[in-house]
């Protein structure tokens, strides 16, 4: 059954097949290279890309000889084509997505830093109340916007137009025993409300002025129900200086005291005259400067001390509050509470004292 001729033939066939595979591979490679040739560009230096901005920078030297030899427009177009091709190649590498039948490439973050149009927004400076609340450790309580109105039998806003339990809208007001029977109690309430609104507005403006570091004129007198002695004295002073000559020719009452805190007038030493006082002053100043121990401003020191204590107390209270919350769930809170006591000894003591009357 063995047929040598057929065996040889088979061998040849396999040989041929091997040849064709190699050829095919080479051919395919060549084809691919040709394909890539149309989209690949040779450059001495690689371009810098910022694909987020669709930007490419070509740092290569441009040969001015080429530029002169060729026609200008053609040269520029050829250069632009090469660079654009490289940029497009880079963009086509990005991950794509199909959104509404359109192929979209996701752009990365921009790398080129450009200046801003306007400076970054500043945080709003805290109001006077916010500063105080922070110092004392007062935290906002969330209140519901709507409250139940007993008389109207419906839910109403807590404040503002058509608010619940509006005392200026009462149809009947009891006249207090101490009040003047002829006084209109309704008018009194509306007036009080209006004054509170005005005061709030003033505070708002003051906060703005403080934030902008503008000097506000000292407000002479605010409307008040009851004026204290100091305020009355201030009112008298304001009235006295409110003349055309700024109170220069106003007479003083026999036992009247000079106004307090009315500002100082600058006074200068005479240019020539007694030098001994000047010498004394200078020597004192030198002594103060050369002394190692700093001069103690008692009021300032006391104030800073008080502030410090307040702040510590507030911090301790806050820490304690957080600990209490934790304790509800587990016993892990106990360690925390102890730590707090150890740190602010005074604050902890205060808490204890407050705790005792509740227990007894």
């Amino acid at each position: 059954m063995f047929d040598p001729a057929s065996h040889v033939l088979r061998c040849e066939m396999t040989n041929m097949a091997a040849c064709s595979v190699e050829e095919l591979l080479a051919k395919a490679e060549q084809e691919e290279a040709e394909k890539l040739k149309s989209i690949s560009v040779q450059k001495e230096l690689d371009l810098e890309f910022d694909v987020g901005n669709l930007l490419a920078c070509d740092k290569n030297r441009i040969e001015s000889r080429d530029f002169r030899e060729q026609r200008k427009e053609d040269f520029l177009r050829a250069l632009a084509r090469d660079n654009t091709q490289l940029l497009i190649n880079e963009i086509w590498k990005l991950p794509t997505e199909r959104i509404a039948e359109v192929i979209v490439a996701k752009l990365p973050e921009q790398t080129t830093r450009l200046p801003r149009e306007k400076p970054p927004p500043k945080p709003r400076p805290p109001t006077r109340w916010e500063q105080f609340a922070k110092l004392k450790g007062i935290q906002n309580k969330k209140k519901t916007n709507l409250v139940w109105d007993e008389t109207a039998k419906e839910w109403r806003r807590r404040w503002g137009y058509k608010r619940a339990n509006d005392n200026t809208k009462d149809w009947l007001v009891e006249v207090p025993e101490t009040a003047d029977p002829n006084e209109d109690q309704f008018a009194r309430r509306t007036k009080a409300k209006k004054e509170r609104v005005a005061k709030n507005e003033l505070n708002r403006l003051k906060n703005i002025a403080r934030a902008q570091k503008i000097k506000t004129p000292g407000v002479g007198l605010l409307p008040k129900a009851q004026q204290s002695k100091d305020e009355l004295a201030k009112a008298v002073n304001v009235a006295k200086t409110s003349t055309a000559s700024v109170g220069r020719f106003q007479d003083r009452l026999p036992k009247e005291k000079p106004p307090k805190n009315s500002g100082k007038k600058r006074k200068f030493e005479p240019l020539i005259g007694d030098f001994s006082t000047e010498k004394k002053k200078q020597l004192e100043l030198l002594k103060l400067m050369s002394s190692k121990t700093p001069k103690l401003d008692i009021t300032k020191a006391v104030n800073t001390q008080m502030r410090q204590e307040d702040r510590e107390e507030a911090a301790a209270r806050r820490r304690k509050g957080a600990g209490g919350k934790g304790r509800k769930g587990s016993m892990a809170g106990r360690g925390k509470g102890k730590g707090g006591k150890g740190k602010g000894g005074k604050a902890g003591g205060g808490g204890k004292r407050r705790g005792k009357p509740g227990k007894h």
């Binding site: 040709e34 394909k35 890539l36 149309s38 989209i39 987020g52 901005n53 669709l54 930007l55 490419a56 920078c57 070509d58 740092k59 290569n60 030297r61 441009i62 001015s64 530029f67 427009e73 520029l76 177009r77 250069l79 632009a80 084509r81 660079n83 654009t84 091709q85 940029l87 497009i88 190649n89 963009i91 086509w92 794509t96 997505e97 959104i99 359109v102 192929i103 979209v104 490439a105 996701k106 752009l107 921009q110 080129t112 830093r113 450009l114 200046p115 801003r116 149009e117 306007k118 400076p119 970054p120 927004p121 403006l205 703005i208 002025a209 902008q212 503008i214 000097k215 506000t216 004129p217």
Partner: protein, 308 residues
């Protein structure tokens, strides 16, 4: 309270919205451009300004009347207009004997001039002179800068930054690949800056990435640099300052090595080994009887309590 008149409190919701739109923002809007002409303009300048306007269209304002001002001598009027229209980029065109066909590109920071570049037009071909099909309005262009001067010379560096700012259009997170139609090419060569605008034709290349063919559509300019006004380094740095909120937050306890591998520590709760499920075997199975007995023992004292 006369001193407080400068602070405006909006009285209506509408004016409040308007003021908010003008206020500085964390992530800024697209810069808008004002395009205006000076006291005297040539035909070249007028058409050139119009062409630039059509390139920039949705984010630009074209001023119709002439404004007799010289930005390099006194920029206050420009600053006023910038504040009025909320534009932070400007293009000013003028023409006189000393500086014929003059363009001034500039940008503002906080409504004050940051930098300005005076570019003289040597040659200009307008958009309408080249009769080809153009690209749709508002296309985000591909920007290409060529020439080593753009990286070596300080003035050119700034000019490049300004031109990027001027022409880049809105910042987007994604682009439609077929919509990349417009290429702006800037070439700095032999002291001149060639600005060319091409339409980009995507041809089949046999692989995924297309082959590019370019077709000039205009406007094209040959610029020469004239006067410049660069911001001081301090101001330039200040203008680049990034707000804290935009900076990427550092994640604690995570590190990377040279190869980009992330290292971190994973914290696990202690495993309860008593509940560990081991191999089930007949011999280890709990017996029903034992459990019952235990229960009896537990109940006994209770009963005793009731009796006493």
């Amino acid at each position: 309270m006369t001193q407080l008149d400068g602070i405006v409190k909006p009285k209506t919701k509408r004016s409040k919205r308007f003021l908010e739109s003008r206020a500085p923002k964390l992530i800024e809007d697209v810069r808008s451009t004002m395009i205006m002409k000076g006291g005297n303009t040539s035909q070249t300048i007028t058409t050139a300004l119009k062409d630039i306007y059509s390139l920039k269209k949705p984010n630009a304002v074209l001023y119709k009347k002439k404004n007799i001002t010289r930005p390099f001598e006194d920029s206050t009027s420009l600053e006023f207009f910038s504040k009025k229209t909320d534009c932070s980029l400007f293009l000013f065109g003028s023409h006189n004997k000393k500086r014929p066909n003059n363009f001034i590109f500039g940008r503002m920071f906080d409504f004050h001039v940051l930098d300005m570049f005076e570019l003289g037009i040597e040659k200009f071909v307008s958009l309408s002179e080249i009769k080809t099909s153009k690209f749709p309005e508002g296309t985000k262009p591909l920007l290409v800068f060529a020439g080593e001067v753009f990286d070596t010379d300080n003035e050119y560096k700034r000019l490049k930054s300004l031109l990027i700012d001027f022409f880049r259009g809105p910042t987007v997170s994604a682009v439609r690949l077929a919509g990349l139609e417009h290429v702006l090419h800037f070439t700095a060569l032999e002291g001149k800056i060639y600005m060319r605008s091409y339409r980009c034709l995507l041809k089949k290349s046999g692989c995924r990435t297309p082959r590019i063919e370019l077709e000039e559509i205009g406007p094209s300019f040959d610029f020469v640099m004239r006067r410049t006004h660069l911001a001081s380094d301090d101001l330039y740095k200040l203008a680049h300052k990034q707000p804290k909120a935009l900076k990427p937050k550092k994640k604690k306890n995570i590190s990377h090595d040279v190869f980009g591998t992330t290292f971190g520590r994973v914290h696990m709760q202690k495993q309860d080994l008593s509940k560990l499920q081991t191999r089930k075997m007949k011999g280890l199975r709990k017996r029903k009887g034992e459990v019952v007995e235990e229960g009896h023992e537990g109940q006994e004292p209770k009963v005793a309590k009731v009796e006493s």
